[in-house]
Each structure stands twice: as structure tokens, then as C-alpha cells.
Amino acid sequence: MGESARRGLFGIALFVASLLTFAFLALPLVAIFVHVPPGDLVAQLSNPVVTDALIVSLKTNLIAQVFILVLGTPTAYLLATRRFRGRALLVTLVELPLVLPPAVAGIGLLAAFGRFGLLGGTLRGLGITIPFTQTAVVFAVAFVASPLYIRQAIAAFEAVDANLVAASRTLGVGPAGTFFRVVLPLASGGLLAGEALSFARGLGEFGATIMFAGSLQRVTQTLPLAIYAEFDVDFDVTLAISAVLIVISGALLLSLKLATSWQPSRLTSRSRSELLSWS
């Protein structure tokens, strides 16, 4: 019958389109591993360029993430729980870095904290230089990676049933207590997911860092910058480093998946899946 025929077509269309997508996304990654014998992959981990970059990357990113967590969480909670004029604008502000070309972010950071930047004078007065130092890397990472965390955090906080918060309050527990005893535990899954995404994004930061922090080995040369630098020197090394990074990012993402797997309502998804098991 025509109906089932059309249904068949739809299923096939879905399938083909997905196949193309997966192929396109998988190929570049596969290609890298094809080029890199596992031996090299391990060998690279002792290449000083890689180790230095890895150390710089981890150090700067960890510091940046601490800031993101400590400052981003309250910000997200505020935006999730308060409705006030200009809120949409602030949310936009928080998300802007996500859609801003990293290079522009770098320029912006220079314009703000650089020698000729808005705060340049003030900072020089305090004997502080930020551009092209590790602080600059931290700034760049924090600026570019924070939106991913804050957005997820807002969503996670908004997902907490308002009645549970209300219940806690009527049970004599104030806003602070309620936040730590009810809101945080219930949002933790989402927060973790956001944090993982943000961390991964930060590890990959390139444009803003090269603009604002330059690329100085052992100081500001993070893994992505090292890749870019090595690219000119030895393509095989570059491939190997890339492979290392893919493995790291992939691991991060999978852990994220696990952290959030429980979130989508099981029943719905299950029954939906059954529902469509014909189409």
C-alpha cells in the first residue's frame, strides 16, 4: 500500500542522511588515526613540545575552570531563578562568547586588558601585565569556555521543580540551605555535563589564545597552539598530537554522556523508540 511505501522511503531517507553525516564527521578523525601508528601516539607523550603544551593546557584550563565554576554557578542560578528587566540582555551577554569568533574575543581581551586597553593604564600602574602571559591564557579560556557551562547550568537550575524549592522553604530552610540541600544535588547532573563541555571547549581554545596570549613554549603554548606550531615543523608530530587530543576530548565527552544519561525521561524516550520501531 502507498502508505507503507512512503513510510519505507522516509525511513530510508532518514537512514541515508544520517549515514552521510556520520561518515563526514568520522572521516577526518579516522584519517588521523590511520596516519598515526599507535607507537607514535605513545612516543608523542614524551615529546617535550607535547608534554610542555599539555602541562600549560592543563594548568591554565584547571585555573580557568575553577573561576568558571565559582563565578558561573551563582550567575547561572541568579539568571535561572530571577525574572527582571534586562535579564534577556544579560543572558545574551553570557552566551555571546559562544558565538563570537575566538579571534574577536582575543582582540576584545587585548582591547580591554592589553597595553593600550581600557584597563591597560590601571594594570600597568599596579605593575601587572596580562597579555602574552599565562594569565592571558586563563583569561582567554575562561572567556571562551564559560558560556557552555553557564548555559547548561541555567537549564539545569530551571529544570529543578519549583515546588521542591517551595517545599524546602516552607520546611523552615532558607534560600542558602535550600540551594545546597535541594537545588544543587538535583541540578548536579546538568552542571557536570556543562562543566565537561566547557572544559573540553577550553582545552581546544585557539583563536583567542594566539591573539591575546601569543604562543610561547612552556608559558602560553597550549596544545592547540603547539599543534599549529608543529604543523610547520613536522606534520607527523602534528598528527600524533592531534590523535592525543582527540582521545582526550572523546574521553571527556563520553564521561559527560554518562553523567547525563539519566536525564532524559526514560519512559518517554523508550516508548517513543518503540513507537517508531516500524518507521
Binding site: I128, T133, Q134, L216, Q217, V233, F235
Partner: protein, 236 residues
């Protein structure tokens, strides 16, 4: 913030000098002073960063123009020529476009990669071609890279059919590229200038580094790496 900043400079202050050097010096400088911290990139990029207050102690440029401009702004000391170099054409060993001489670059469809016009090597490339009345070749340019090593990489990968780099760069990827020499008469005056950054916290170490480069040992290594005598030997 400041803490991290100072401390970042700090691992330098103990004689650890920070050197911003042209990409073409990537391989040779570490052999002259392995202890220094290097940032290799297009001289123009480095200049821009120094202008923006990058904590460099020494600036080694692949030409004299850029350091002179900075010097005019009192950002760096008067540059001293510390070596010279020559321009060559490199093609992948597979030589897909079958480029035998620089004149073959005129063949339409040849994928030519050069450095951006603000990058020293990019400027030199334009000069050479003008000298040889080959400016039309530039119509075959498929990409203007941000420094000489990018040019080399694209060719070494075989993605590009040919590229203009320094003879010293060509030697760093043996077996990956074939070198096509350019006639001496067409060569531009490729002089590298080194100077000390005025804002350096670390002038002593900076001077020490410059002297090392200019010193006999330093120069030996430069020449070993394929660079040319600081000053043209008065031709006989």
C-alpha cells in the same frame, strides 16, 4: 591575575631570556641557546605582539624594516644585522605539477603558496618575482600564509605545488621537498635584524643572547644551518 603574570615572567628572569624570533629561525636558534624561551612566528605577527606589550626580551626579525619601525617607536633597540638568507622555490618531491624551473610557475592551475605581503618572506617573494618580471605568477597563488613555515608545510604536505621559502627552511624537511634555486641577480637583500626589547625586564640576559648569536659559535651554527655570512664577503 598579576601574580600569575609576574611568575610567568619570573621563570624567565633567572637568565631565562624570552626570544621572539622569525619562523625561519625555528630550528637554528635552539641550537645556539637551548635554555631560552622561544616564540616563533611571522616577524610581523611578533612585532604586533611586542607592540601590544608582549613580555619579549629579544626580537629577531627576518628583515630590517620591521625592527626599524619598532625602533622608531622606541619599542626596541636599533636592530643589528646578524645573518642573511636566500629565497628558493620548493616543490613536493612528488612534484605533481611537474615544476622544473621558476618559469613553470606561470603554468595556469599551478597551486602556488606564498606568505602574506606583511610577512618578510612574502615581501621578498614579490621582489624576486618583480626582479624576474614574473609578477604574473602571483595569479596562481592559492593561499597567503601567516609565516614562512606555513608555506613550507603546505608544500611538504604536497597540498601545494610550489612555494617560496628561505633556502634554510627547505633543508629542514629533507626528502619532502625539491629545491629550485633562484638566480643570484634576482635575489632580494634578505637581512635578519636582531634587537633588544625596550620593555625587557631582563636586559642583561637579552644582551648576552644577542652576543651569543653574533659571536663566533653562534655564527658557525647559523652557517651550518645554511644561513649566509652576516656581511656579503666583498666579491673578488
Amino acid at each position: 591575575g598579576g601574580a600569575a603574570a609576574r611568575q610567568a615572567g619570573a621563570d624567565g628572569t633567572r637568565a631565562r631570556v624570552t626570544v621572539y624570533a622569525a619562523a625561519s629561525l625555528t630550528d637554528v636558534f635552539p641550537t645556539i641557546d637551548p635554555t631560552a624561551k622561544y616564540s616563533f612566528a611571522g616577524s610581523n605577527t611578533l612585532a604586533a605582539q611586542i607592540t601590544q606589550g608582549a613580555p619579549a626580551d629579544v626580537f629577531a626579525s627576518a628583515n630590517m624594516t620591521i625592527p626599524n619601525q619598532l625602533n622608531a617607536k622606541n619599542l626596541v633597540s636599533k636592530p643589528i644585522v646578524f645573518t642573511r638568507n636566500a629565497l628558493v622555490v620548493v616543490v613536493p618531491t612528488s612534484n605533481p605539477a611537474n615544476v622544473k624551473t621558476v618559469y613553470d610557475l606561470k603554468k595556469p592551475g599551478t597551486k602556488l603558496v606564498v606568505a602574506g605581503p606583511t610577512v618578510p618572506v612574502g615581501a621578498y617573494t614579490v621582489q624576486v618575482l618583480r626582479n624576474m618580471a614574473l609578477s604574473s605568477v602571483l595569479q596562481n597563488v592559492v593561499s597567503r600564509e601567516t609565516d614562512v613555515r606555513e608555506v613550507l608545510a603546505k608544500v611538504a604536505l604536497g597540498e601545494a605545488d610550489a612555494g617560496f621559502v628561505y633556502s634554510t627552511d627547505a633543508r629542514t624537511v629533507p626528502g619532502k621537498v625539491k629545491v629550485l634555486r633562484l638566480p643570484a641577480w634576482a635575489q632580494p637583500k634578505v637581512q635578519y635584524g636582531i634587537s633588544i626589547v625596550s620593555a625587557s625586564q631582563n636586559k642583561a640576559a637579552a644582551r648576552a643572547f644577542v652576543n651569543r648569536v653574533l659571536g663566533r659559535a653562534g655564527q658557525k651554527r647559523m652557517i651550518a644551518a645554511g644561513f649566509l655570512q652576516r656581511v656579503k664577503p666583498k666579491g673578488k
